[in-house]
Structure formats: C-alpha cells, structure tokens
Symmetry: C2
Subunit: 549 residues, 2 copies
Amino acid sequence: MSKQNKETLRILPLGGLGEVGKNMMAYEYDGHILVVDAGLMFPDNDMLGVDYIIPDFEYLRQNAKRVDGIIITHGHEDHIGAIQHLLAAVPAPVYATPLTRGLVEVKLARNGLANRATLIKIQAGETVQIGPFQVETFHVCHSIPDAIGLGITTPAGLIVHTGDYKFDQTPVDNWPTDFAKLAEFSGRGVTVLLADSTNSERPGWTQSERVIGPAFDEVFRTAPGRIIIATFASLIARMQQVADAAVRHGRKMAFVGMSMVDNAKIARNMGYLEVPDNTLVSIDEALHLKDKEVVLMCTGSQGEPSSIIGRLSAGTNRQFDVEPGDTIVLSSHPIPGNEEAINKTINRLIRRGAEVVYEAVLPVHVSGHASSEEQKLLLNLVRPKFFVPIHGELHQLKRHAVLARQVGIADENIVVVENGQVIELSDDKLSLGERMPGGYIFVEGESVGEIDLDVMREREQLARSGIVLITVTVDKYSNRLLKDPEVLTRGFISPDDADGLIAAVQKKVNDLVNGGGLDDEKLISDAVRSLLYNETRRRPMVFVAITKT
Amino acid sequence: MSKQNKETLRILPLGGLGEVGKNMMAYEYDGHILVVDAGLMFPDNDMLGVDYIIPDFEYLRQNAKRVDGIIITHGHEDHIGAIQHLLAAVPAPVYATPLTRGLVEVKLARNGLANRATLIKIQAGETVQIGPFQVETFHVCHSIPDAIGLGITTPAGLIVHTGDYKFDQTPVDNWPTDFAKLAEFSGRGVTVLLADSTNSERPGWTQSERVIGPAFDEVFRTAPGRIIIATFASLIARMQQVADAAVRHGRKMAFVGMSMVDNAKIARNMGYLEVPDNTLVSIDEALHLKDKEVVLMCTGSQGEPSSIIGRLSAGTNRQFDVEPGDTIVLSSHPIPGNEEAINKTINRLIRRGAEVVYEAVLPVHVSGHASSEEQKLLLNLVRPKFFVPIHGELHQLKRHAVLARQVGIADENIVVVENGQVIELSDDKLSLGERMPGGYIFVEGESVGEIDLDVMREREQLARSGIVLITVTVDKYSNRLLKDPEVLTRGFISPDDADGLIAAVQKKVNDLVNGGGLDDEKLISDAVRSLLYNETRRRPMVFVAITKT
C-alpha cells in the first residue's frame, strides 16, 4: 500500500459471518502480509440452501504476491475450512503445528489439492520469521490439541493474538496454556492484545476438560446396552476421554463416519490420541459385538440432519439403527440457532427408545473457550497497552471490552471493530484505517460467490408463500385464449384445497384476456396476485408466461 | 364415546407443536368434555411462511355438543391464542379469571367475535361445576397475574392440573401460589397430578420475580438517555416492575405498540397493574420529553423482525429511531430457536449506538416456570398416586419423570405420553387409551389448515436452490422451436453470473427439441436439471411449459 508508511502495522479482521476476525485475520507491514487462519462458518437458519460460508478475501487475492505466509492456530473447521479456497487465490506457504498440519492435509487431499501446497511444520513454542513478522508461537489449551497463540513482532511493536484459548489447569493431555510465554511477553511490553471473546458473557471460569471423565464414567457404568457418543469430528480431546473411559470400563471403541475416522487416524498416527490397539475396532466389528461391549463415536451433536445422529434419529442410517437400550450422549453445547434442531433430534431418539444424555442431564461437555474470569486473568497477565477483542459477535466484543475496563485498561485504548475495519498501529498509537468489504461469501455445491443476498431474499420470498405458475396461450390474431390457462402451484396450497382457488385464477385470467383484451404478463400476474391475496391473505410469487400463436 | 364406561375419566393432551398438552388439553367423563386452554404456538424456523400454529382439535369439533365448557388457566398467547378458532367450532362457555377473561375479550374483539361468546368470570379459589366436573381453581404464580391451576373431581378421582406455575415466595403482586389448597388436595388424596415440565432440566429454584427490581434500578440509575424495555405484551408482572422503577426514578412511562397498549389498559382497568396517572404518558408525549425523563415499553425481545425492537434495529420504525445514548433492555429469555435472531438484533442495536442490556449483562429476566427443586416440592406436597408430566417436549417430560422417581413415585405410576395419546383412569388404574391425531394446524393469512407438511416440504425445496422456469414454443407440425426458449430464474443464481448458464440451458433445450425431437415437459426438465447439477452441484426446481402452435 503506497499510502502506508513503513512504520505502520495494519490489522485486518477479514472474516466471517458475525464473528469478528474469527475465521481469518491478516497483519500487514511494510508491504508484506501475514494471514492468520482460513476458516469457514456454517450458515444461519435464514441462509437457505447454503452449504457453508467463507470470508471475503478479495483484498488478499488482489495482493496475493505480497502474502508471505498463512499461519493456522488450530485444526477446527472454523479456522482451516476455507484453506482450499484461499490457497487457490493466494498460493503462500502454510505454517501449522503437526496435528493442525495433518488436518489441513486431509482437507486439501479431499479437495484434490494434495501435495499442491507448501505446508511448513512448526512446533508450539517455536519462533518463525515470515517476511518482516517475527512470529513466536505459544501453546494454548482448547478443545483440540496442538493449538497455538501468536506473539508477532515488527518494528511497530509486539502484538499478541490468542486464537481460541482457555486456561484449563488440568487438561486431559496435561499440556496447559503457556503462561510463562505470556508473562515473558508482558515483561517485554505488549503493544496490542487481540483475544478470543466467545465466552465474554459467561461468568466465572470454564470448567476443566477433566470434569467430563466422571460424567462419562457414570454413563459407562449404568448404560445397559450400546453407548453412542456424538461430538464434533475435530474434538480430539473428547475422543481421548471416550477412549480412556472405554479402557476403564472394558468396552471396545469404534469411530463412525468418514470425518471421525479420518481425524482419529491422523491424531492417533501423530501421537495426539492414544487408543490401545485392542480397544479400537471397526464399526463392522463393533456391530457384531454384544451391545454392552461397545462404544461408538460419531458426529451429529448439533442435530444436523445429514449426520449419523441425525440419520439415526430419523431412522435413515444405513449401517445400524437406534434400539431400545442404547444410550446416546450428545457431547457438545448447542451453537446458537441449533437449539431447536437439537431438541427435535433428542425427542426423536427418545421416541425410538434410547436414553439420551446431554448437557442438562450430566456434564458431558465443557466449552473450549475462556470465560470472563480467564479473560480478565489474560488481560492482567499480558498487560497490553491496547486491547482489541476479536472472535465474537459485536455484543460479545462489547462485553469483553467491559471486562478490559474492569481490569484497568483505559477506555480510549480499547478498540471494538467489525470485520473489514482496518486498524492501524503507528507511533505507538492505534487508530482506525480504511474500511474493506470484510463480508462473506456463500458456498453452495460448486458455486462460490454466485449466491448473494439478493438470491437469498428471492429464496425467502419463494419459501414464504410458495409459487403459482400460469401458462397462457393466446391466438395472436384474435387475442383470445386458445385453451384454459394452465395453473401450477408449489408450496402454496395443498392439492386438496386448491381446486376452487385454481378455478378462480383461471376465471380471472379468462376475464382479463378474453374480456379485457389484456396480454401483458405483468398486469395479469398483478391481478392474480391481488386475487390470491384477497382470497387467502397470502402473497405467493406469481409467474405468467403468455404464448401467442 | 360408547366404548367408554361411565367410571372412566379420559385425559386428552391435544396440542400443540412438540410440547405435550401445552396449548390445549381435554378431560372427558360420562360423555361430557371439559377443555382446558386454547393456545397457539409460534412456528419453528423450518416452518416457512407460517404465521402461527393451533392444535388439531378435530375431535372436539366432531363432539362439539358434548363440550360443557372451556376453562383457561391464564392469559398468555400459548393458552388463549387459539380461542377464536376453537369457539368457531365449539361454541361452549369460557371460564376465566378476570384478567384472563379481559385478555380473551380483546382477542375475540380483534377477530370480530366480540359479544359472540359466553364468557364466565371466576375468581381464583372459586369452585365451579362444569357438567360432571367439579373444578376447584387455585391461584398459581406465573409471569402474568391471575393464573390458576385446577383440581378436577369426578367419581374417577381427583386430578390436579397445575397449568404454568412457579413457587415464587415473594412475587411482585404479593400473591404466592396457593400452597394451602395443594396441601388440602393432598390430604383428600390426589389420584393424578399433571404438572408443568418446562424447566425440568433447570437445577435449583427459579429466582423470584423480585430480583428484577434491583437490576432495573441499576439500569434506571445509570442510563444516560432514554430507556426502552422490551418484553412480551402479556408479561403484566414485568410492566408493573417497570412502572415501579419509573416511579422510583422519576421517569414517565409509555407503552408502545397495539398489543402492549391494549393489555396494559385492561390490566390497569382491572386493578392488576398500578401505574400512577402522572407517570403514564402516551408515546407522543414521551417523545417530546427529555430523553432522561422517559422509559418506553414495547415488544420484540425475541428478535421478531416485525416488532418494535425488530424495526428499531433495522431502522424501519415509523415513530422514532434508536439513538446513541439509548439504553435498550431485553427483558426475556430466548425461546429455543430464537437465539440467532436475538443476537443479530442486539448487534444491530449496538451498531446504532445503543447500550443493550440482556440476561447475560444483568438479571433483567426470570423464568415464569418452576425449576426442578420446585417441581420436586410440588410432587411432595401433592403426593399423587399417578404422575403425568405435561407442558414440555418429550425430553423435558422424561426429565420430569426422573425427578418424580427421585421423590419416590413408582416408575409404573408415571406416564409419559405425547399429544394425541389418550390416558384413561378407571378403577384407580391409569392406562393408555386410543391414539388421536393430536397434531397441529398451520395458520397463514386466512388459510387455516390448507398448508400442510407437503406444502412445507415444497417450500423448503423452493428455498433450497431456487427455481428455473423454461417456456418453450414449438411448431406443432414440424416439432421445432419457434423461438429461443425463455429461461427465468429466482433464488438460483445472481443475474451477474447467470448468462453463461442460461445460454447453456437454452442450447440444451434447443438440442433436445430440434435435435432430438423431444416434446415431453418432464424429460426436458429432467435433462435441464441434470445439466444444472453437473454445472453447479445444485438442484433447483425446474419447470418446463411447452406450447405447441
């Protein structure tokens, strides 16, 4: 950027939906760009038909040559899920810790990009120089092993970027967050802290991942038949706890579903997941064992209809069905908006005779993110000059800002921005820079970005009251109908109730054409629309096609 | 019912969506029917275009002459919102306490049914004889005054039906739940208890409505400008607390929106809401006062786009806008499924410069339903022989059943059913009777029941990938196209990206008709569908209309 002087560091929150900097951020200094994370987001309930959403990284595409590297903080989908899209536009080297790297490799292979990217393995705690950015990585606890935060030094100052983190003092893998490194940064003087705001509205401390052990023990002790545990495919720490419980209670364990099987294999190969060989069985083997001898692990804890649990609840799973006596554990917290789908799934599983165990029944899940007391501890530990809450929706960032004020950070040194708002650090001052698009892009099938908000609004309109299609054939000389208008409806009215209404529409069109000499598609559809509104108080989309012959 | 003997009491949970007996139940004895409540439910996120949902009371319609009365437990929408539909089919007298009756009257008047129904006023604590049912009403605390539970005596035994309740020991109106009556029932011997299960998954006790007072005080003390408090229009208790805070802090109070204004007027006229005359102002007056001198109360705490708060957040409210300095309080708990909409609304309000206060910030809301410790107290107080959890989804009923087992009710004496499953009480035994439809009916505009699940599925399909309409005009002699096929899309692809794809569709149709001599609408639409799938991996609905001339 020509307008940027050499001493300015630019902070660019680039993605995605409502959560600021959650899925992608970039740092820019002296014409060089460092990208942090390349994740996807799942669509909101009103984003009809969308498969997933990626950040709008047009700025990076346009400045691809200036991107020196992409560093990934951990292997969850919301941090790696857009990597294939980003690499297609920005072929920079990707830096990641071993497990994260393994998960990125799987993702690239699935998208036909195996061996097409430069993946550079780093260890948590290692320092790498990426262009003008000296990046000191430090281990953080999260719900996946090998997660890191970043200390980024340029002549403009030291920036600490936490990534997703929590301060679990007794993590399952015995590897706590690197407090010493944070303290060392603090000693050196941190200019800007950018920290995870996900749980800024939760009071207290996030419970240790370890509390899940006793809850699992209770399930394993009391379950009369099979145990089926559902969680995210990338929740490696949860896999470890299930494996440990399986060993303690003498059950065999099987992973079900491609993403679970693949991720478990990588984690196990790399030493991040320990399951004894004689505990792990294939799903086929598991289904031939006695019910009391197995625990299955699969996806679907968010009520997703296409997941294993979703299919089990609907009775459409191919390999096996839910049976009375099964105990199903949903080991996750509802993502806001999914509560309804999850409750429906639980009800369906109960209806099929299963016992269902979820957060409200037993503590079978803890959050992977720091709660407000941990966030305050981080702020006191790092003692930054400036604070920029990230990884949260606006209301969560605002709460995080309140916490920062409580621990003594001056109000004018806290900057809350939304995606696309560039922040500039220069002469030890933080200020707002330009606004970039900072939006997001819908991915649906192989269409990336061809579905926009206008298309989404049309879908909403289609869905609200359905459609009415009318085909009219008119004699071009007499301008009279050659046959009755054909009327077809979808999503408007059930066929049992449609006859009278369709006859009324036909009569209306007949009157307009034969009576009124009308041959304008728009005028006819307006008239039909108002007829339907008067009859039903609803507004379907009406399409009229007139053919003159 | 001929097959029913005189000594059998039948319990019919009739509505609505997933919550058993929440919106409507009926009791039947010796050919006589007593209906309890006639409420509506709001549609799930996947029920596209539906305005609201009512219970399927076909059984009552068919047996309308045998319905001796309809008794309403309290004035919330989910208990009175279907009354006009029910009365149109079942013109029985309606029994209600004064406030409930007032709210029912408003609803009937709005639907052009004023003075067309027999409304019988009863006082909480009063006993009424409705056919063979001796109904002893008793006051319960809930988030609206004048709520009642029912003790229903027939020769088959004494049934206690709680309605929505909680055990607030310090309610704002100083009128606690009628423990004495419950104890009296217990002394007499309760055969069946049917109790509210809404909060069976919440540990502990629901906090007293009174804790909101200090939270409101903090808001009123610190708000630099206007205060706007959003809640449900029927939450009369909350109105009282806002009024009390307004008096304490010297602000004028105005209700905004028809339902708020109407409900407040009724509650005030009947003495259920005390607002001094010099505190209450109209919205027009309020808007001319200094910002620091007013508090407005309106709807929209669930993020409903058409509510006042929804419109304020979108900048489309007619009378006034949100301004920096405004403090907006969302005084309610998200209904499952609404979290996403509420969060978006909060973000939009923050973006407009408002301070937003909600549950996570301050205790500005408490639930109106008993939590699990209260539910256990109720069970111990009433000591029923049989227990039927109602007012909850299946998973909540299951949890309520667990609580009942914990307090010593024998497993075989607990009956968990879903809507439509009749329960029969005879010879002091509880057993399952017939299954009725027990479903629900969509209301949309003036269409009641014409929108069914098939129509809903079509809407989902329309919304998933949009539609493609193709009009083909063919010469009936040569079977060749008379002009290029017309292709129209909605919700499929944005116009900027459509040209190439539309040209490909036209070419395909051309090839099929002119090349292949095809004139079958289905075959052509199949071919286009597969072309579009190959190009985009998406499946829009394709409609082809061929006109031969």
